[in-house]
Symmetry: C2
Subunit: 352 residues, 2 copies
């Protein structure tokens, strides 16, 4: 049941870099651009971890864009969140345009703290930046033994159902359900059927999409990634349903944080100042009995009949395995990206 | 952007019944089956309202099944929720197999009360029954001026991605964003692309689905509703994505309420004892500025370019209009269903 568009790790242009070396090299890049040692190390570790668990498009492959955001002044390496309001179990924080991954990790940590006292904790974070991968922060909650949920809005990149114009963000959401052995269940997905990263990967590999992913330039639904890149009309999941979900996730993000909606982000020269929501539940709800319900449900799911005899997987099932493999063999990184990163680690400017 | 599968109101077999008459007639049926006057009137009003706003499959068309649930003992007309646990902003309630709509309305009301004190309120409701329409309770929050969200699990009726066997519920979720004029934004949808009700409507009208809705008996994706009914393999929205979302909604429902998951409901002889989650946000987050963000975002969305010149609608946009029309002209009700209901209003047993 895991996403069918997990990124390939077997292209000849992909090399394997030891996790620790990846972290240290990216950390040097960040320190050269104004991060303190501690914050640079933490931010680099989050980004490296995303590649480690098999999502390079939201990990190391996005590092150069992350650096660009700092150099253009959209991301302030030294900013950290400031609390604007507290209403019991709900807090609103201003991300002050700090680094998205650090802000988001902080916000989920705060939601967990509130949840431990109040049963549920919610943090709205406005004026923050791209967090790279939604799953990082839901998984963080699961690692802390809690049920965690988070979503973000983005710049407009998805036409609403019935329209040809990108007015909605693809607004990723992640939900993680903790398990005692660390093999948490986690859904992590955007409201578009395929990310632009997944479309580009399919083009590089010369293949069609496994299911329709958008419209061609004539307005017909297609599996051709080239056509979708040209039309800029990816499909929302479930057509009108994903379109509606994307809208309400955007509005809830903006309202709960008191921040911008996708429409407002789209009026800027670039994507910054996004709005996010973090929700965590206290561990009181995880009893021997409720944990058994999770295990029984997964056991039942994985026994589901299939046409081809393969067993059904639950979302997130392969994370622990990928992590272990890549920790042993090195993290798959695009050779070209790695060349750029090593260059940036010894100098202060992005080329071009 | 509204769902393309809204149910038809123009079939020759559909008559129009004044809202008040519909409520009173259903209320009589309920009182004959053990409801008190007050609870019968409230329950009938919720069910009639679902048809009033254009969702008869989750309104009056489901009333006979609702009555069957009472007569078979799955729904206890006199039960109301009992609080099992309170952890600050999170409460867990036992629905004691009471009527789903009354239990759910109570739970959202309780979430609203908690939210007004704590900024956010969450109620997990276990051991409850089919609530008919998710949107009823999210809309209830919006009518109270709050942001509201709720979801439920169901009996297994959706094969996980990669499987031929229904192991997941289609687990509807509703999210409502309040607007001052009452024309709230609301997403209300299940994790299957089409409900069985929508498939049956398409068959009755002799049409194919507008987009693929499931698998045929040979395992190919199809727009033929007959084939999907035969295979019992509807498609999740976004293929693997809706499958993953359905699973995490099920697990969160079970954990937050301390109740059953879909897998456990599936072991019973019928669908009862489901698990639900209700989340409401305090009105503190709705300021002049954040309300303006909602209006600006909807304004931007509805101006989106289209191929055919039609304007893009937001989810829930037509609810107020349908409500007004049907209040004036009468609620569309299947003539056959209405015949059964009037018969049941004067006697105590469901035929057959």
């Amino acid at each position: 049941m895991e996403t069918d568009d997990k990124e390939t790790e077997h292209s000849p242009a992909v090399i394997r870099v030891p996790f620790q070396r990846l972290c240290e090299t990216m950390c040097r890049c960040l320190i050269l651009r104004g991060f303190t040692q501690d914050r640079g190390a933490r931010c680099a570790a989050i980004i490296a971890e995303n590649s480690l668990v098999g999502v390079p498009s939201h990990g190391v492959n996005r590092f150069l864009r992350f650096i660009e955001g700092i150099e253009r002044g959209w991301v302030d390496p030294r900013s950290s969140p400031h609390r604007l309001g507290s209403h019991g179990a709900l807090e609103q924080w201003d991300g002050r345009l700090g680094p998205g991954p650090l802000n988001a990790e902080f916000a989920m940590q705060r939601a967990l703290e509130i949840a431990s006292a109040q049963g549920v904790g919610c943090v709205g974070l406005r004026n923050t930046n791209h967090w790279l991968r939604a799953g990082t922060y839901a998984w963080q909650a699961a690692q802390a033994g809690s049920l965690g949920l988070c979503f973000t809005n983005t710049e407009p990149n998805l036409p609403p159902w019935g329209s040809t114009e990108a007015k909605l963000g693809n607004n990723p959401i992640a939900v993680a359900v903790p398990r005692a052995d660390g093999r948490h269940v986690m859904f992590d997905g955007a409201m578009s059927q395929f990310s632009y990263g997944a479309l580009e990967t399919a083009i590089l590999e010369g293949r069609q999409l496994p299911v329709p992913g958008g419209f061609d330039r004539l307005g017909a639904i297609t599996t051709d990634p080239n056509e979708i890149i040209s039309s800029r009309r990816p499909l929302p999941i479930g057509y009108w349903k994903g379109s509606g979900l994307a809208l309400v996730l955007d509005l809830v993000s903006a309202l709960v944080s008191g921040g911008q909606s996708s429409a407002m982000i789209g009026q800027q020269e670039a994507e910054y100042g996004v709005s996010q929501v973090f929700l965590a539940f206290g561990t009181q709800i995880l009893t021997v009995r409720t944990r058994a319900v999770v295990e029984e449900t997964l056991h039942d799911l994985c026994r589901a009949q299939t046409d081809d005899g393969r067993h059904v997987t639950y979302p997130g099932e392969r994370i622990a395995e990928r992590r272990q493999t890549n920790m042993r063999t090195g993290v798959p990184v695009s050779a070209q990206v790695w060349g750029e990163i090593t260059r940036l680690a010894s100098q202060g400017e992005v080329a071009g």
